[in-house]
Symmetry: C2
Subunit: 304 residues, 2 copies
Protein backbone atom coordinates (compact mmCIF):
# COMPACT_ATOMS: atom_id res chain seq x y z
CA UNK A 1 0.00 0.00 0.00
CA UNK A 2 1.12 3.54 -0.67
CA UNK A 3 1.95 5.72 2.32
CA UNK A 4 -1.19 6.97 3.96
CA UNK A 5 -2.87 10.09 2.94
CA UNK A 6 -0.84 13.27 2.94
CA UNK A 7 -3.88 14.85 1.34
CA UNK A 8 -6.16 14.26 4.31
CA UNK A 9 -7.11 17.18 6.52
CA UNK A 10 -6.73 16.34 10.23
CA UNK A 11 -10.07 16.00 11.98
CA UNK A 12 -11.41 18.82 14.15
CA UNK A 13 -11.49 18.09 17.88
CA UNK A 14 -13.84 20.23 19.96
CA UNK A 15 -14.75 20.23 23.63
CA UNK A 16 -17.65 22.67 23.56
CA UNK A 17 -18.17 23.97 27.07
CA UNK A 18 -21.87 24.85 26.65
CA UNK A 19 -22.76 21.41 25.37
CA UNK A 20 -20.65 19.63 27.95
CA UNK A 21 -22.16 21.54 30.82
CA UNK A 22 -25.72 21.20 29.50
CA UNK A 23 -25.36 17.41 29.34
CA UNK A 24 -22.99 17.18 32.31
CA UNK A 25 -20.78 14.83 30.29
CA UNK A 26 -17.08 14.70 29.46
CA UNK A 27 -17.90 14.96 25.78
CA UNK A 28 -15.38 15.28 22.94
CA UNK A 29 -16.72 16.16 19.49
CA UNK A 30 -14.74 14.73 16.58
CA UNK A 31 -15.91 16.54 13.48
CA UNK A 32 -15.26 15.56 9.88
CA UNK A 33 -17.42 18.40 8.57
CA UNK A 34 -14.29 20.32 7.51
CA UNK A 35 -12.67 17.32 5.84
CA UNK A 36 -12.21 17.80 2.09
CA UNK A 37 -15.63 17.46 0.38
CA UNK A 38 -17.26 17.87 3.80
CA UNK A 39 -17.27 14.32 5.15
CA UNK A 40 -15.01 11.45 6.26
CA UNK A 41 -15.71 9.74 2.92
CA UNK A 42 -12.79 11.56 1.37
CA UNK A 43 -10.38 9.51 3.51
CA UNK A 44 -11.71 6.33 1.92
CA UNK A 45 -12.08 7.59 -1.63
CA UNK A 46 -8.62 9.10 -1.70
CA UNK A 47 -7.05 5.92 -0.39
CA UNK A 48 -8.84 3.86 -3.04
CA UNK A 49 -7.81 6.04 -5.96
CA UNK A 50 -4.26 6.44 -4.64
CA UNK A 51 -3.71 2.70 -4.39
CA UNK A 52 -5.47 1.40 -7.51
CA UNK A 53 -3.77 1.44 -10.91
CA UNK A 54 -6.91 2.03 -12.98
CA UNK A 55 -7.26 5.30 -14.85
CA UNK A 56 -11.04 5.34 -14.47
CA UNK A 57 -13.34 4.94 -11.46
CA UNK A 58 -17.07 4.36 -11.20
CA UNK A 59 -19.04 4.78 -7.98
CA UNK A 60 -22.68 4.81 -6.94
CA UNK A 61 -23.77 7.56 -4.59
CA UNK A 62 -26.30 10.32 -4.26
CA UNK A 63 -24.31 11.86 -1.46
CA UNK A 64 -20.97 12.19 0.21
CA UNK A 65 -19.09 9.28 -1.36
CA UNK A 66 -19.81 10.59 -4.85
CA UNK A 67 -18.29 13.99 -4.07
CA UNK A 68 -15.34 12.37 -2.33
CA UNK A 69 -14.59 10.01 -5.22
CA UNK A 70 -14.93 12.81 -7.76
CA UNK A 71 -12.51 15.05 -5.85
CA UNK A 72 -10.01 12.25 -5.22
CA UNK A 73 -10.01 11.47 -8.97
CA UNK A 74 -9.53 15.15 -9.76
CA UNK A 75 -6.53 15.39 -7.42
CA UNK A 76 -4.97 12.20 -8.78
CA UNK A 77 -5.85 12.88 -12.41
CA UNK A 78 -8.21 10.00 -13.09
CA UNK A 79 -11.52 9.79 -14.92
CA UNK A 80 -14.59 9.45 -12.71
CA UNK A 81 -18.25 8.59 -13.15
CA UNK A 82 -20.79 8.76 -10.31
CA UNK A 83 -24.11 6.99 -10.78
CA UNK A 84 -26.80 9.11 -9.13
CA UNK A 85 -30.60 8.96 -8.96
CA UNK A 86 -31.99 11.49 -11.45
CA UNK A 87 -33.91 13.21 -8.65
CA UNK A 88 -30.82 13.84 -6.53
CA UNK A 89 -30.66 17.37 -5.21
CA UNK A 90 -29.15 19.82 -7.67
CA UNK A 91 -26.54 20.85 -5.13
CA UNK A 92 -25.16 17.31 -5.01
CA UNK A 93 -25.14 16.80 -8.78
CA UNK A 94 -23.44 20.17 -9.17
CA UNK A 95 -20.77 19.26 -6.62
CA UNK A 96 -19.86 16.05 -8.46
CA UNK A 97 -19.70 17.86 -11.81
CA UNK A 98 -17.64 20.74 -10.39
CA UNK A 99 -14.98 18.23 -9.42
CA UNK A 100 -14.83 17.26 -13.07
CA UNK A 101 -16.67 13.94 -12.79
CA UNK A 102 -19.52 12.69 -14.95
CA UNK A 103 -22.86 12.46 -13.13
CA UNK A 104 -24.61 9.44 -14.61
CA UNK A 105 -28.22 10.20 -13.77
CA UNK A 106 -30.57 7.22 -13.69
CA UNK A 107 -34.28 6.86 -13.16
CA UNK A 108 -34.29 4.37 -10.29
CA UNK A 109 -37.84 3.32 -11.22
CA UNK A 110 -36.51 1.99 -14.52
CA UNK A 111 -33.06 0.72 -13.60
CA UNK A 112 -31.66 -0.01 -10.14
CA UNK A 113 -28.31 1.34 -9.02
CA UNK A 114 -26.88 -2.18 -9.00
CA UNK A 115 -28.14 -2.90 -12.52
CA UNK A 116 -26.68 0.34 -13.81
CA UNK A 117 -23.37 -0.41 -12.13
CA UNK A 118 -23.35 -3.80 -13.90
CA UNK A 119 -24.06 -2.11 -17.24
CA UNK A 120 -21.13 0.25 -16.75
CA UNK A 121 -18.89 -2.57 -15.59
CA UNK A 122 -19.49 -4.31 -18.91
CA UNK A 123 -19.18 -1.14 -21.00
CA UNK A 124 -15.97 -0.08 -19.24
CA UNK A 125 -14.06 -3.21 -18.32
CA UNK A 126 -10.93 -1.25 -17.43
CA UNK A 127 -12.64 0.96 -14.85
CA UNK A 128 -12.51 0.26 -11.10
CA UNK A 129 -15.93 -0.13 -9.50
CA UNK A 130 -15.56 1.63 -6.18
CA UNK A 131 -17.76 0.59 -3.26
CA UNK A 132 -18.55 3.25 -0.67
CA UNK A 133 -17.84 0.87 2.20
CA UNK A 134 -17.14 -2.76 1.30
CA UNK A 135 -13.55 -2.49 0.14
CA UNK A 136 -10.33 -3.06 2.09
CA UNK A 137 -8.95 0.24 0.79
CA UNK A 138 -12.06 2.03 2.06
CA UNK A 139 -11.74 0.54 5.53
CA UNK A 140 -8.02 1.35 5.60
CA UNK A 141 -8.62 4.91 4.43
CA UNK A 142 -11.23 5.42 7.13
CA UNK A 143 -8.89 3.99 9.71
CA UNK A 144 -6.80 7.15 9.35
CA UNK A 145 -9.49 8.89 11.41
CA UNK A 146 -9.16 6.22 14.09
CA UNK A 147 -5.40 6.83 14.13
CA UNK A 148 -6.10 10.41 15.18
CA UNK A 149 -8.26 9.27 18.11
CA UNK A 150 -6.03 6.77 19.90
CA UNK A 151 -4.26 9.42 21.99
CA UNK A 152 -7.33 11.34 23.14
CA UNK A 153 -7.80 9.29 26.31
CA UNK A 154 -11.35 8.31 25.39
CA UNK A 155 -13.28 5.63 27.28
CA UNK A 156 -15.90 5.30 24.55
CA UNK A 157 -16.40 6.42 20.95
CA UNK A 158 -19.82 6.64 19.32
CA UNK A 159 -19.81 6.40 15.51
CA UNK A 160 -22.61 6.51 12.92
CA UNK A 161 -23.19 3.22 11.07
CA UNK A 162 -24.43 2.95 7.49
CA UNK A 163 -22.44 0.35 5.58
CA UNK A 164 -20.03 0.09 8.49
CA UNK A 165 -16.94 1.45 6.77
CA UNK A 166 -16.13 4.15 9.29
CA UNK A 167 -16.67 2.08 12.41
CA UNK A 168 -14.64 -0.80 10.92
CA UNK A 169 -11.76 1.54 10.21
CA UNK A 170 -11.90 2.81 13.78
CA UNK A 171 -11.83 -0.73 15.17
CA UNK A 172 -8.75 -1.52 13.08
CA UNK A 173 -6.94 1.67 14.09
CA UNK A 174 -7.33 0.84 17.80
CA UNK A 175 -6.26 -2.77 17.18
CA UNK A 176 -3.19 -1.50 15.33
CA UNK A 177 -2.34 0.81 18.26
CA UNK A 178 -2.95 -2.02 20.68
CA UNK A 179 -5.37 0.13 22.67
CA UNK A 180 -8.78 -0.70 24.05
CA UNK A 181 -11.75 1.62 23.91
CA UNK A 182 -15.47 1.00 23.93
CA UNK A 183 -16.64 1.37 20.31
CA UNK A 184 -20.35 1.97 19.94
CA UNK A 185 -22.36 2.23 16.74
CA UNK A 186 -25.20 4.72 16.29
CA UNK A 187 -27.87 3.70 13.80
CA UNK A 188 -31.31 5.12 13.05
CA UNK A 189 -33.96 2.94 14.73
CA UNK A 190 -35.89 2.86 11.45
CA UNK A 191 -32.78 1.60 9.59
CA UNK A 192 -31.52 -0.85 12.20
CA UNK A 193 -30.10 -3.56 9.96
CA UNK A 194 -26.65 -3.41 11.57
CA UNK A 195 -28.08 -3.78 15.10
CA UNK A 196 -30.21 -6.71 13.96
CA UNK A 197 -27.28 -8.28 12.13
CA UNK A 198 -24.96 -7.94 15.14
CA UNK A 199 -27.60 -9.57 17.38
CA UNK A 200 -28.28 -12.39 14.92
CA UNK A 201 -24.66 -13.08 14.07
CA UNK A 202 -25.35 -12.83 10.33
CA UNK A 203 -26.07 -10.01 7.89
CA UNK A 204 -29.78 -9.14 7.84
CA UNK A 205 -30.44 -6.56 5.13
CA UNK A 206 -33.22 -3.99 5.00
CA UNK A 207 -35.79 -4.84 2.33
CA UNK A 208 -36.04 -1.24 1.11
CA UNK A 209 -33.95 1.88 1.58
CA UNK A 210 -35.24 3.20 4.90
CA UNK A 211 -36.29 6.86 4.61
CA UNK A 212 -34.55 8.06 7.76
CA UNK A 213 -33.54 11.71 7.90
CA UNK A 214 -29.98 10.42 8.37
CA UNK A 215 -29.67 9.87 4.64
CA UNK A 216 -26.07 8.71 4.85
CA UNK A 217 -27.28 5.49 6.49
CA UNK A 218 -29.91 4.51 3.92
CA UNK A 219 -27.80 1.51 2.92
CA UNK A 220 -29.49 -1.87 2.63
CA UNK A 221 -26.96 -3.67 4.80
CA UNK A 222 -23.46 -3.71 6.20
CA UNK A 223 -20.80 -5.23 3.96
CA UNK A 224 -19.21 -8.65 3.72
CA UNK A 225 -15.88 -7.10 4.66
CA UNK A 226 -17.12 -4.70 7.33
CA UNK A 227 -19.41 -7.13 9.18
CA UNK A 228 -16.68 -9.40 10.59
CA UNK A 229 -14.78 -6.34 11.83
CA UNK A 230 -17.96 -5.05 13.48
CA UNK A 231 -18.54 -8.44 15.13
CA UNK A 232 -14.98 -8.47 16.36
CA UNK A 233 -14.60 -4.92 17.65
CA UNK A 234 -17.92 -3.13 18.18
CA UNK A 235 -19.31 -3.34 21.72
CA UNK A 236 -22.89 -2.41 20.93
CA UNK A 237 -25.09 -0.59 18.44
CA UNK A 238 -27.55 1.99 19.75
CA UNK A 239 -30.77 2.55 17.81
CA UNK A 240 -31.60 6.25 17.61
CA UNK A 241 -35.03 7.79 17.08
CA UNK A 242 -35.50 10.40 14.36
CA UNK A 243 -36.36 12.91 17.10
CA UNK A 244 -33.04 12.43 18.87
CA UNK A 245 -31.13 12.82 15.61
CA UNK A 246 -32.80 16.19 15.09
CA UNK A 247 -32.23 17.15 18.74
CA UNK A 248 -28.54 16.37 18.30
CA UNK A 249 -28.32 18.47 15.16
CA UNK A 250 -30.00 21.40 16.94
CA UNK A 251 -27.76 21.13 20.00
CA UNK A 252 -24.67 21.25 17.81
CA UNK A 253 -26.05 24.47 16.33
CA UNK A 254 -27.05 26.15 19.59
CA UNK A 255 -24.39 24.81 21.96
CA UNK A 256 -21.32 24.19 19.80
CA UNK A 257 -21.64 26.49 16.75
CA UNK A 258 -21.28 23.36 14.63
CA UNK A 259 -23.17 22.83 11.40
CA UNK A 260 -23.65 19.14 10.70
CA UNK A 261 -25.83 16.98 8.50
CA UNK A 262 -28.46 14.72 10.09
CA UNK A 263 -26.28 11.61 9.67
CA UNK A 264 -23.49 13.44 11.49
CA UNK A 265 -25.78 14.01 14.48
CA UNK A 266 -26.52 10.29 14.94
CA UNK A 267 -23.78 9.77 17.52
CA UNK A 268 -24.88 12.69 19.71
CA UNK A 269 -28.47 11.50 19.30
CA UNK A 270 -27.42 8.09 20.63
CA UNK A 271 -25.80 9.75 23.64
CA UNK A 272 -28.87 11.91 24.31
CA UNK A 273 -31.06 8.82 24.23
CA UNK A 274 -28.79 6.88 26.61
CA UNK A 275 -27.18 9.62 28.64
CA UNK A 276 -26.77 7.68 31.89
CA UNK A 277 -24.69 5.07 30.09
CA UNK A 278 -22.06 7.74 29.47
CA UNK A 279 -21.79 9.30 32.93
CA UNK A 280 -18.24 9.35 34.28
CA UNK A 281 -16.83 8.37 30.92
CA UNK A 282 -14.80 10.44 28.51
CA UNK A 283 -16.89 9.91 25.39
CA UNK A 284 -16.09 10.90 21.82
CA UNK A 285 -18.89 11.49 19.33
CA UNK A 286 -17.92 11.34 15.68
CA UNK A 287 -19.65 13.82 13.38
CA UNK A 288 -19.32 12.07 10.05
CA UNK A 289 -20.14 14.98 7.76
CA UNK A 290 -21.71 18.39 7.28
CA UNK A 291 -23.36 18.45 3.87
CA UNK A 292 -27.04 19.30 4.08
CA UNK A 293 -29.31 21.43 1.94
CA UNK A 294 -29.99 24.87 3.42
CA UNK A 295 -33.77 24.44 3.19
CA UNK A 296 -33.66 21.17 5.15
CA UNK A 297 -31.30 22.59 7.74
CA UNK A 298 -33.31 25.80 8.16
CA UNK A 299 -36.45 23.78 8.80
CA UNK A 300 -34.72 21.53 11.33
CA UNK A 301 -33.13 24.27 13.45
CA UNK A 302 -36.15 26.57 13.37
CA UNK A 303 -38.96 24.08 13.99
CA UNK A 304 -37.60 20.54 13.83
CA UNK B 1 1.39 41.16 32.76
CA UNK B 2 0.60 37.56 33.54
CA UNK B 3 1.66 34.98 30.96
CA UNK B 4 -0.71 34.95 28.06
CA UNK B 5 -3.74 32.84 27.99
CA UNK B 6 -3.30 29.14 28.59
CA UNK B 7 -7.08 29.00 28.66
CA UNK B 8 -7.50 30.16 25.06
CA UNK B 9 -8.51 27.66 22.41
CA UNK B 10 -6.33 27.95 19.28
CA UNK B 11 -8.21 29.40 16.34
CA UNK B 12 -9.53 27.13 13.58
CA UNK B 13 -7.76 27.51 10.24
CA UNK B 14 -9.67 26.27 7.20
CA UNK B 15 -8.90 26.31 3.49
CA UNK B 16 -12.27 25.20 2.14
CA UNK B 17 -11.75 23.90 -1.37
CA UNK B 18 -15.31 24.55 -2.59
CA UNK B 19 -15.24 28.18 -1.50
CA UNK B 20 -11.74 28.77 -2.81
CA UNK B 21 -12.54 27.34 -6.20
CA UNK B 22 -15.89 29.16 -6.45
CA UNK B 23 -14.18 32.51 -5.82
CA UNK B 24 -10.91 31.54 -7.52
CA UNK B 25 -9.03 33.02 -4.57
CA UNK B 26 -6.26 31.77 -2.28
CA UNK B 27 -8.57 32.17 0.70
CA UNK B 28 -7.78 31.15 4.28
CA UNK B 29 -10.65 31.17 6.78
CA UNK B 30 -9.67 31.97 10.37
CA UNK B 31 -12.61 31.04 12.54
CA UNK B 32 -13.18 32.00 16.15
CA UNK B 33 -16.61 30.35 16.19
CA UNK B 34 -15.22 27.48 18.29
CA UNK B 35 -13.41 29.76 20.74
CA UNK B 36 -14.77 29.48 24.28
CA UNK B 37 -18.16 31.25 24.45
CA UNK B 38 -18.26 31.20 20.64
CA UNK B 39 -16.33 34.34 19.72
CA UNK B 40 -12.90 36.00 19.89
CA UNK B 41 -14.18 38.14 22.77
CA UNK B 42 -13.12 35.47 25.24
CA UNK B 43 -9.47 36.23 24.47
CA UNK B 44 -9.99 39.80 25.63
CA UNK B 45 -12.24 39.10 28.59
CA UNK B 46 -10.00 36.39 29.96
CA UNK B 47 -6.93 38.58 29.70
CA UNK B 48 -8.70 41.41 31.54
CA UNK B 49 -9.91 39.26 34.42
CA UNK B 50 -6.59 37.41 34.67
CA UNK B 51 -4.58 40.61 35.00
CA UNK B 52 -6.82 42.75 37.20
CA UNK B 53 -6.84 42.37 40.98
CA UNK B 54 -10.52 43.22 41.51
CA UNK B 55 -12.84 40.52 42.78
CA UNK B 56 -15.82 41.92 40.86
CA UNK B 57 -16.30 42.91 37.21
CA UNK B 58 -19.05 44.87 35.48
CA UNK B 59 -19.49 44.96 31.71
CA UNK B 60 -22.06 46.27 29.26
CA UNK B 61 -23.07 43.95 26.43
CA UNK B 62 -26.08 42.38 24.84
CA UNK B 63 -23.89 39.93 23.02
CA UNK B 64 -20.58 38.18 22.86
CA UNK B 65 -18.56 40.28 25.30
CA UNK B 66 -21.09 39.64 28.04
CA UNK B 67 -20.84 35.87 27.68
CA UNK B 68 -17.07 36.06 27.45
CA UNK B 69 -16.72 38.20 30.59
CA UNK B 70 -19.13 35.98 32.51
CA UNK B 71 -17.24 32.81 31.59
CA UNK B 72 -13.83 34.35 32.29
CA UNK B 73 -15.08 35.40 35.75
CA UNK B 74 -16.43 31.92 36.35
CA UNK B 75 -13.10 30.31 35.46
CA UNK B 76 -11.14 32.76 37.61
CA UNK B 77 -13.62 32.79 40.48
CA UNK B 78 -14.72 36.42 40.35
CA UNK B 79 -18.11 38.06 40.68
CA UNK B 80 -19.60 39.37 37.42
CA UNK B 81 -22.46 41.62 36.38
CA UNK B 82 -23.44 42.20 32.75
CA UNK B 83 -25.68 45.16 31.97
CA UNK B 84 -28.03 44.11 29.17
CA UNK B 85 -31.04 45.71 27.46
CA UNK B 86 -34.20 44.16 28.93
CA UNK B 87 -35.29 43.07 25.45
CA UNK B 88 -32.09 41.11 24.75
CA UNK B 89 -32.79 37.69 23.30
CA UNK B 90 -33.52 35.06 25.94
CA UNK B 91 -30.72 32.89 24.62
CA UNK B 92 -28.16 35.59 25.40
CA UNK B 93 -29.51 36.39 28.87
CA UNK B 94 -29.58 32.66 29.63
CA UNK B 95 -25.98 32.22 28.51
CA UNK B 96 -24.74 34.98 30.83
CA UNK B 97 -26.70 33.56 33.75
CA UNK B 98 -25.53 29.99 33.10
CA UNK B 99 -21.96 31.18 33.51
CA UNK B 100 -22.98 32.34 36.99
CA UNK B 101 -23.09 36.06 36.26
CA UNK B 102 -25.85 38.51 37.13
CA UNK B 103 -27.74 39.84 34.13
CA UNK B 104 -28.63 43.44 35.02
CA UNK B 105 -31.56 44.07 32.70
CA UNK B 106 -32.30 47.71 31.92
CA UNK B 107 -35.00 49.44 29.95
CA UNK B 108 -32.87 51.48 27.55
CA UNK B 109 -35.76 53.90 27.02
CA UNK B 110 -35.53 54.88 30.69
CA UNK B 111 -31.80 54.63 31.37
CA UNK B 112 -28.93 54.45 28.90
CA UNK B 113 -26.23 51.83 29.14
CA UNK B 114 -23.69 54.50 30.02
CA UNK B 115 -25.91 55.96 32.78
CA UNK B 116 -26.48 52.53 34.25
CA UNK B 117 -22.77 51.79 34.17
CA UNK B 118 -22.16 55.04 36.07
CA UNK B 119 -24.80 54.05 38.66
CA UNK B 120 -23.10 50.72 39.21
CA UNK B 121 -19.68 52.32 39.33
CA UNK B 122 -20.87 54.45 42.26
CA UNK B 123 -22.70 51.60 44.01
CA UNK B 124 -19.76 49.22 43.63
CA UNK B 125 -16.57 51.29 43.87
CA UNK B 126 -14.38 48.19 44.16
CA UNK B 127 -15.58 46.59 40.91
CA UNK B 128 -13.66 46.86 37.63
CA UNK B 129 -15.67 48.41 34.82
CA UNK B 130 -14.66 46.34 31.79
CA UNK B 131 -14.86 47.89 28.32
CA UNK B 132 -15.48 45.53 25.43
CA UNK B 133 -12.77 47.17 23.31
CA UNK B 134 -11.18 50.32 24.73
CA UNK B 135 -8.81 48.78 27.26
CA UNK B 136 -5.12 47.89 26.86
CA UNK B 137 -5.80 44.44 28.32
CA UNK B 138 -8.53 43.88 25.73
CA UNK B 139 -6.26 44.81 22.84
CA UNK B 140 -3.49 42.63 24.26
CA UNK B 141 -5.85 39.70 24.76
CA UNK B 142 -7.08 39.99 21.18
CA UNK B 143 -3.51 40.17 19.95
CA UNK B 144 -3.18 36.49 20.85
CA UNK B 145 -5.23 35.76 17.72
CA UNK B 146 -2.81 37.83 15.67
CA UNK B 147 0.08 35.82 17.13
CA UNK B 148 -1.48 32.71 15.58
CA UNK B 149 -1.59 34.34 12.14
CA UNK B 150 1.96 35.61 11.66
CA UNK B 151 3.25 32.30 10.26
CA UNK B 152 0.43 31.64 7.78
CA UNK B 153 2.16 33.40 4.90
CA UNK B 154 -0.75 35.77 4.34
CA UNK B 155 -0.52 38.81 2.07
CA UNK B 156 -3.67 40.37 3.48
CA UNK B 157 -6.02 39.86 6.44
CA UNK B 158 -9.59 41.12 6.49
CA UNK B 159 -11.06 41.69 9.96
CA UNK B 160 -14.49 42.89 11.15
CA UNK B 161 -14.45 46.30 12.86
CA UNK B 162 -16.84 47.35 15.61
CA UNK B 163 -14.99 49.11 18.41
CA UNK B 164 -11.70 48.18 16.79
CA UNK B 165 -10.38 45.88 19.51
CA UNK B 166 -9.72 42.86 17.31
CA UNK B 167 -8.08 44.71 14.44
CA UNK B 168 -5.91 46.68 16.90
CA UNK B 169 -4.74 43.49 18.51
CA UNK B 170 -3.88 42.06 15.11
CA UNK B 171 -1.87 45.17 14.20
CA UNK B 172 0.10 44.88 17.43
CA UNK B 173 0.78 41.15 16.97
CA UNK B 174 2.31 41.75 13.53
CA UNK B 175 4.32 44.69 14.85
CA UNK B 176 5.62 42.50 17.68
CA UNK B 177 6.60 39.78 15.19
CA UNK B 178 8.22 42.41 12.98
CA UNK B 179 6.22 41.19 9.99
CA UNK B 180 4.31 43.16 7.41
CA UNK B 181 0.90 42.19 6.10
CA UNK B 182 -1.91 44.21 4.60
CA UNK B 183 -4.51 44.65 7.37
CA UNK B 184 -7.97 45.56 6.12
CA UNK B 185 -11.04 46.38 8.16
CA UNK B 186 -14.53 45.24 7.18
CA UNK B 187 -17.36 47.44 8.42
CA UNK B 188 -21.05 47.54 7.55
CA UNK B 189 -21.70 50.41 5.11
CA UNK B 190 -24.61 51.51 7.31
CA UNK B 191 -22.33 51.64 10.38
CA UNK B 192 -19.26 53.17 8.76
CA UNK B 193 -17.98 55.30 11.61
CA UNK B 194 -14.52 53.68 11.56
CA UNK B 195 -14.09 54.26 7.82
CA UNK B 196 -15.19 57.89 8.22
CA UNK B 197 -12.91 58.33 11.22
CA UNK B 198 -9.90 56.88 9.42
CA UNK B 199 -10.51 59.19 6.45
CA UNK B 200 -10.99 62.27 8.64
CA UNK B 201 -8.09 61.58 10.98
CA UNK B 202 -10.31 61.92 14.05
CA UNK B 203 -13.00 59.84 15.70
CA UNK B 204 -16.43 60.49 14.15
CA UNK B 205 -19.08 58.60 16.12
CA UNK B 206 -22.43 57.35 14.85
CA UNK B 207 -25.30 59.36 16.27
CA UNK B 208 -27.40 56.26 16.98
CA UNK B 209 -26.70 52.55 17.16
CA UNK B 210 -26.92 51.53 13.49
CA UNK B 211 -29.32 48.61 12.99
CA UNK B 212 -27.05 46.56 10.75
CA UNK B 213 -27.58 42.82 10.73
CA UNK B 214 -23.95 42.56 11.88
CA UNK B 215 -25.03 43.28 15.44
CA UNK B 216 -21.52 42.93 16.83
CA UNK B 217 -20.59 46.21 15.13
CA UNK B 218 -23.44 48.36 16.46
CA UNK B 219 -20.96 50.40 18.49
CA UNK B 220 -21.16 54.17 18.36
CA UNK B 221 -17.47 54.64 17.60
CA UNK B 222 -14.00 53.19 17.76
CA UNK B 223 -12.14 53.74 21.03
CA UNK B 224 -9.61 56.31 22.20
CA UNK B 225 -7.07 53.50 22.59
CA UNK B 226 -7.93 51.55 19.44
CA UNK B 227 -8.11 54.49 17.03
CA UNK B 228 -4.39 55.41 17.09
CA UNK B 229 -3.51 51.75 16.49
CA UNK B 230 -5.95 51.65 13.56
CA UNK B 231 -4.43 54.84 12.13
CA UNK B 232 -0.96 53.38 12.49
CA UNK B 233 -1.51 49.86 11.17
CA UNK B 234 -4.70 49.46 9.16
CA UNK B 235 -4.30 49.89 5.40
CA UNK B 236 -7.94 50.48 4.55
CA UNK B 237 -11.49 49.88 5.75
CA UNK B 238 -13.97 48.37 3.31
CA UNK B 239 -17.64 49.25 3.68
CA UNK B 240 -19.84 46.21 3.20
CA UNK B 241 -23.48 46.16 2.13
CA UNK B 242 -26.00 44.19 4.17
CA UNK B 243 -26.57 41.98 1.11
CA UNK B 244 -22.92 40.97 0.91
CA UNK B 245 -22.83 40.17 4.63
CA UNK B 246 -25.73 37.76 4.12
CA UNK B 247 -24.14 36.34 0.97
CA UNK B 248 -20.97 35.66 2.95
CA UNK B 249 -22.90 33.92 5.71
CA UNK B 250 -24.68 31.73 3.14
CA UNK B 251 -21.47 30.84 1.31
CA UNK B 252 -19.87 29.74 4.57
CA UNK B 253 -22.86 27.44 5.06
CA UNK B 254 -23.00 26.00 1.55
CA UNK B 255 -19.31 26.00 0.60
CA UNK B 256 -17.43 25.57 3.90
CA UNK B 257 -19.83 23.85 6.33
CA UNK B 258 -19.20 26.76 8.67
CA UNK B 259 -21.90 28.27 10.87
CA UNK B 260 -21.15 31.90 11.63
CA UNK B 261 -23.01 34.92 12.90
CA UNK B 262 -23.65 37.87 10.57
CA UNK B 263 -20.83 39.92 12.13
CA UNK B 264 -18.49 37.01 11.48
CA UNK B 265 -19.35 37.10 7.77
CA UNK B 266 -18.34 40.75 7.36
CA UNK B 267 -14.82 39.94 6.21
CA UNK B 268 -15.95 37.49 3.51
CA UNK B 269 -18.62 40.03 2.51
CA UNK B 270 -15.87 42.62 2.04
CA UNK B 271 -13.93 40.20 -0.17
CA UNK B 272 -17.03 39.37 -2.24
CA UNK B 273 -17.66 43.05 -2.80
CA UNK B 274 -14.06 43.74 -3.85
CA UNK B 275 -12.95 40.43 -5.28
CA UNK B 276 -10.51 41.76 -7.88
CA UNK B 277 -8.54 43.51 -5.16
CA UNK B 278 -7.66 40.09 -3.71
CA UNK B 279 -6.61 38.24 -6.88
CA UNK B 280 -3.15 36.70 -6.66
CA UNK B 281 -3.01 37.35 -2.94
CA UNK B 282 -3.13 34.88 -0.09
CA UNK B 283 -5.93 36.45 1.92
CA UNK B 284 -7.13 35.54 5.40
CA UNK B 285 -10.71 36.30 6.42
CA UNK B 286 -11.34 36.39 10.15
CA UNK B 287 -14.69 34.99 11.31
CA UNK B 288 -15.11 36.77 14.62
CA UNK B 289 -17.86 34.61 16.11
CA UNK B 290 -20.67 32.13 15.59
CA UNK B 291 -23.47 33.03 18.01
CA UNK B 292 -26.74 33.65 16.22
CA UNK B 293 -30.34 32.79 17.03
CA UNK B 294 -31.60 29.76 15.10
CA UNK B 295 -34.65 31.63 13.79
CA UNK B 296 -32.47 34.40 12.35
CA UNK B 297 -30.01 31.95 10.85
CA UNK B 298 -32.73 29.76 9.36
CA UNK B 299 -34.28 32.77 7.66
CA UNK B 300 -30.94 33.94 6.27
CA UNK B 301 -29.81 30.63 4.77
CA UNK B 302 -33.23 29.70 3.39
CA UNK B 303 -34.33 33.02 1.90
CA UNK B 304 -31.95 35.79 2.91
Amino acid sequence: MKPLLDAIRPTTILEPEKLRSLLDLDLVVISETFQHTGSFKFRAAYNVVLNRPESEFVGVSSGNFGQALAYACKLLDRKCTVIMPHNSSKVKVDAVQKYGAEADLINVNEVSRVERLEQLRQQRPDAYMASAFDDRLVIEGNSSLGDELVDLGLDAIVIPIGGGGLISGTVEAFERANQTVEIIGAEPAMANDAAKSLAAGRIIPNKFEPQTIADGTRTLSVGDLTFPVIQRGVNSILEVSEEKIVEGLKLYFTHANLKCEPTGALSLGAVLQNVDQFRDKRVGVVVSGGNVDPEVYARLIANG
